[in-house]
């Protein structure tokens, strides 16, 4: 379900840029405007990157409206804290937000990310080698990609909830607070995390605003800070903003040396999952896939360059020492179910051509025949991402051969020949030339 993005129809030029960038072929251009096949959309945001007209945008809530409330509770993605030079630490940002009556529940996030990493280390230590590697649940777009394209790997998804959810859950439990919480999201997938989550019935959060929106608001004549807030000692969780940070955090809690693979970007993610599906990842304990380049700092909803964010993270000192008191707290929470995935994940694929196998086979044969007669250059003019997708749409009754401009051209040529032939016919009353 595409809860994370929306199409601004008035801006859509009906070009084919987005449909060919979609990793699950979920987009079609129909009557000059793009539409999304919701079952296939994974909210990765690739189409937003490719759209030259900015017709596809993040489906975020209205920050002005949220901000106009008396008090705003914020749950930030780690990315938020590496976006700004002007506000170089968690405490400065918290201070700036507080002067706006916006409260970020950072300290609970730090604990939740620790708890998630600790729980994962625990699972990986006790899991039978045959059931490894497990897959990270952190990137919601990757979870959806697995559901649509790699359903066989669903059983390998680590049974832990997103630490962003866990952080809010802990905050609610400790404080008893029932206020609405707004997630600062770096990408459309994390918007879906709130509005249509995987692995749980409903989210602990209510609204979403893009990281970029708030960063720009803070930087545009933002509030003055006096470094009066205490420093936040736990910055391990900020490492999750970059690919590899999660694995480093888990390894930090693990007794044994873990073999992990961390990749970012859609192509690398697809390739790694393909290799895993073919059973080629023996000896690997954990795989961490992020659909955006360099990880969440590459999210389309951020304000800062991913390269500068990476540099800032590289330059910051991560405090990997977990204090005794901290560890005790983590272990206490680990005894509860709060960090666990609440609901099984389910495959989400396009329906087969027919429920009846024999009929489906006949249709597939027909589809292959139609495809073999198409030009197979994937030009996109028919509004489909590929000639194969057009053949499939035709078989599903959602298109016709003449949607292909090359087929139309052929048909016009045939028609033209026929016209020439017809025009060559002479009335019987006229003599033919030369006869």
């Amino acid at each position: 379900m595409s809860f994370g993005i929306k199409v601004q129809e008035s801006r859509c030029a009906g070009c084919a840029n987005c449909i060919q960038s979609c990793p699950t072929e979920a987009m079609r251009v129909i009557d000059g405007c793009v539409t999304i096949i919701e079952d296939l959309c994974i909210d990765c945001g690739e189409c937003m990157r490719k759209c030259p007209h900015k017709a596809i945008v993040m489906n975020e809530d209205d920050w002005e409206l949220i901000h106009s409330q008396e008090k705003v509770v914020l749950a930030s993605d780690p990315v938020f804290y590496v976006q700004m030079n002007a506000y170089s630490s968690q405490s400065l940002i918290r201070e700036a937000l507080a002067s706006w009556h916006v409260w970020d529940i950072t300290e609970y996030m730090g604990l939740a990310f620790d708890l998630t990493a600790y729980s994962l280390a625990n699972i990986l230590e006790n899991e039978d080698h045959q059931n490894l590697p497990l897959i990270s649940t952190y990137c919601p777009a990757v979870l959806r990609l697995i559901e649509t394209n790699f359903p066989e790997l669903i059983g390998r998804i680590a049974p832990v909830d997103s630490p962003l959810e866990v952080g809010v859950a802990i905050w609610r439990e400790v404080t008893g607070n029932t206020d609405s919480v707004t997630l600062l999201a770096p990408c459309p997938a994390k918007i879906t995390l709130v509005h249509n989550p995987e692995g749980r019935e409903s989210s602990n959060m209510q609204f979403t605003v893009s990281v970029g929106k708030l960063v720009r608001a803070l930087l545009a004549g933002g509030p003055k800070v006096h470094a009066s807030f205490p420093e936040v000692p736990n910055n391990r969780w900020l490492e999750w903003a970059i690919v590899g940070g999660e694995s480093a955090h888990i390894s930090n809690f693990s007794e044994r040396k873990l073999s992990t693979i961390s990749v970012s970007g859609m192509r690398n993610t697809m390739d790694l999952l393909k290799e895993m599906e073919l059973g080629r990842l023996r000896g690997v304990d954990y795989i961490e896939c992020r659909s955006c380049d360099l990880g969440c700092i590459g999210g389309i909803g951020n304000a800062e360059s991913r390269f500068l964010s990476k540099m800032r993270l590289d330059h910051s000192k991560t405090n990997w020492d977990v204090g005794e008191e901290e560890l005790r707290t983590i272990k206490e929470w680990h005894k509860t179910d709060i960090w666990k995935l609440k609901k099984e994940l389910k495959p989400s694929q396009r329906a087969p051509l027919s429920e009846d196998l024999n009929e489906a086979m006949v249709k597939l044969k027909e589809m292959n025949r139609i495809y073999s007669e198409l030009p197979q250059i994937n030009c996109g003019s028919c509004g489909r991402p590929s000639c194969r997708a057009l053949a499939e749409d035709i078989i599903r009754g959602q298109g016709e051969v003449n949607d292909c401009i090359f087929k139309i051209r052929e048909n016009i040529q045939e028609l033209g020949k026929e016209i020439v032939e017809l025009s060559d016919r002479m009335p019987h009353t006229l003599k033919r030339k030369g006869s």
């Binding site: 066989e152 495959p347 329906a351 196998l357 489906a360 597939l364 589809m367 292959n368």
Partner: protein, 141 residues
Amino acid sequence: MNIIQDEFQVQGGDFANVGTASTALKSSLEMIGIPSAIRRRVSIIAYEAEMNLVIHAGGGVIRYYVYPDRINIVAEDEGPGIPDIDLAMEEGYSTASDEIRELGFGAGMGLSNIKRNADTMEIRSEVGEGTVIDSVIFISG
């Protein structure tokens, strides 16, 4: 009769394109609603068979046939042949060169992986003439 079939030429040493037949077969099976567990087994067999053609046989051809009750994958080559099939079936036994092992392939799991995932598997091989690996997966239900 209602059969879906296709054929893929595989070039020897062409590691870059390994997986073409396997991916195409997997997507066809998805279109006709074959359960994902069967799709996975089929794509592993097709992939390992392709891999064998690339590594050992100097290329060959993969054919697949989808019947309403079963899927048949046939890999055929005119390569060196297998002198001792029982030995070749053993896990970890491999005749792959060091060069290929350095690429991370040739672990000696190919044939045993096919056998593990197929319902029936038959190997016909003549030294100096070539090899045919014929495997079948039943579609239950």
